[in-house]
């Protein structure tokens, strides 16, 4: 027998490229999800589909004019520089607030792992409690805090002598960014929490034992192992930030607009359903693309995760 025959076969590729999408169905892995998928189809995909359809038909006096499929409203929107400006603002505000969320959430989730008993419970309650109040109420609270001369923030800073003139925060990008980051923070903390608090401490010990400092261990072991959770949080927070219209509308002021705000205004205020539906189509499809990009970057960075047994 040659030594060639004794060699183990080469490693199997991490992601089989062909037929991979079929596998969960064949293995029965997806069947338990069927009720949820059916529910979503009837109560989410169908209404959204109908709504989006409005952008491609002619509507007269609240009725769809039969057989009137048209790309005209969509093409008009795409050639409108205002739409592109709105989309750009939606994007960068969401992206900036998502990154801020990650930077703020990671230490909290990390600290949670080293707390015990009642402190752990208290922190968890503190993290999820914002989710128990309505986003509208919380946004109004920010109005009170950030608002003009008599806002809590400016009054405190002036009283402390840090500033002489009130800061103009409300009705700027900053207000939107601050509000969005605070309100969406739990969506970033929760996925990180699960992974960071359940992590295997022996890996950190192994890293220390091999001579790595605590900082090196953090960046070479803890962070890479939490990549799946990081990207889950990024995708989640980006999606809710990109499509949120309440926060930009209230904290950004009357002249501040994003793609999501425009969808709201066109459908509810202006009652131009066609334009509203076209903008909604753009909002949803770009959101989908961005989330897809985030998720696929995440899985590229954690390909080792695929082989976990």
């Amino acid at each position: 027998m040659s030594t060639e025959a004794l060699r183990p076969p080469p490693s199997r590729p991490l992601s089989p490229r062909r037929g991979a999408w079929m596998r969960p169905l064949v293995g029965g892995g997806l069947w338990p999800a069927v009720p949820a998928v059916a529910y979503l189809l009837v109560f989410m995909v169908l209404p959204i589909g109908t709504l989006l359809l409005f952008g491609f038909v002619t509507i007269e006096r609240g009725r769809i004019v039969g057989d009137s499929f048209t790309l005209e409203p969509m093409l008009r929107a795409l050639s409108d520089p205002l739409v592109w400006r709105l989309m750009w603002r939606s994007f960068w505000v969401a992206a900036a607030s998502t990154v801020l969320c990650l930077l703020l959430a990671y230490p909290v989730a990390f600290a949670y792992g080293s707390l015990r008993g009642v402190w752990r419970t208290l922190l968890l309650v503190a993290i999820v409690s914002p989710l128990l109040t309505s986003a509208l109420v919380r946004t109004y609270a920010w109005l009170v805090i950030l608002g003009g001369r008599r806002g809590i923030l400016n009054q405190s800073l002036i009283w402390l002598g840090v500033i002489d003139e009130p800061l103009r925060i409300l009705n700027t990008d900053w207000a939107v960014l601050i509000g969005m980051t605070q309100i969406h923070l739990p969506f970033m903390i929760l996925p990180l929490l699960a992974v960071l608090s359940e992590r295997d401490r022996r890996l950190e010990e192994a890293s220390l034992n091999l001579g790595a400092s605590r900082t090196a261990t953090f960046f070479k072991v803890i962070v890479p192992m939490s990549i799946p959770a990081i990207f889950a949080g990024l995708a989640l927070v980006f999606a809710v930030s990109y499509t949120n219209f309440i926060i930009p509308q209230l904290l950004g002021g009357g002249n501040y607009s994003t793609l999501a705000v425009q969808v709201y205004e066109q459908t509810i205020v202006v009652l131009d359903w066609t334009r509203g539906a076209v903008l909604a189509t753009l909002l949803l499809s770009t959101c989908f693309l961005f989330v897809l990009a985030i998720v696929s970057l995440g899985s590229r960075l954690s390909r080792w995760n695929e082989v976990r047994r």
Binding site: P8, L203, E205, L210, K220
Partner: protein, 354 residues
Amino acid sequence: MSHLVIDNVSKSFGELPVLRGCSLSVEKGSVLTLLGPSGCGKTTLLRTIAGFITPDAGRIVVQGNDISDMPPNRREVGYVFQNYALFPHLTIAANVAYGLKVRRTSRAEVARRVEDALRLVDLSTFADRYPAQLSGGQQQRVAIARSLVLEPSVLLLDEPFNALDARLRLTMQIELRKLIQRVGITSIFVTHDQMEAMTLSDTVAVMHKGVVEQFGSPLDIYDRPRTAYVANFIGRANVIPGEVANGHFDDPARIATQAPAGPAVLVVRPENVTVEPATAGDAAPGWPGTVTFTTALGPTVEYEIDCGWPEPLRAIAPRSPGRPQAGPGDRVVARIADPAAAVVLRRQDGAHVH
């Protein structure tokens, strides 16, 4: 001065004392084996040496330097974890390279040393796989390679061979032993396997309930166990209760002893017991009894004899086809073949007497 000294180390987890005044010393380049039942504190002791646990009392000294307060990443004490603790997000090669990269070793040297280490554990072809794609035994070898590649001055191995099959285990033991000798690594092994302890180590420490019960060369511990517990843990032993009076154990063989008068136990290895058929008028002192069970093992036969004690007396005698052999129900007399090899120990309250 020994290379590694563990001086009176104690540790409690809450109310539970896990290490109680453990003292050990290991010479440079020699191998110490920690033997003991599950839960006796072996892993805790190793973790204390590696710096993951701060002892409540006592010192750990390497080459004359007290390292008790040194952070684990500065100790240069290799540790092979009981559950391997391989980094799941790194390939096998990257796992082995981890410590070298942290030390900013040059790329070429990292590649060379990783290759050598993987060749040593016979895993060169697996370099690009991830730990989850390896069997338990293969992962164990990666864990060993990952520590060895750094050539630490002290190496701690927590049951490093428990997932390997018998043949690979032997190969690994020999290879590791050679490497330890060549590089001069002072090492401590934890094992449940007494054979492994005998073959691998220069010294053996038997732990029991957080205490080092005996510490010495393997044969010394086998021949002169200091407690009944040790006698039973290293090899098998008959522990026969009795009394010491006038410098003799009060038993048919009247074995001389230095032990003080009072309750005592006699420790006799099964191979030191001879079995003969009971014949009337037999003068030589012995224990009469009835054979209850025999196991023929080819070259030897093992008897269990009921002598009226709570535990049967065990004896191992040579066997050959021509020779008559006692069977269950036979009346026999058991005698100690070599009184000098039997050990008399004081019977302590709470001491394990089997």
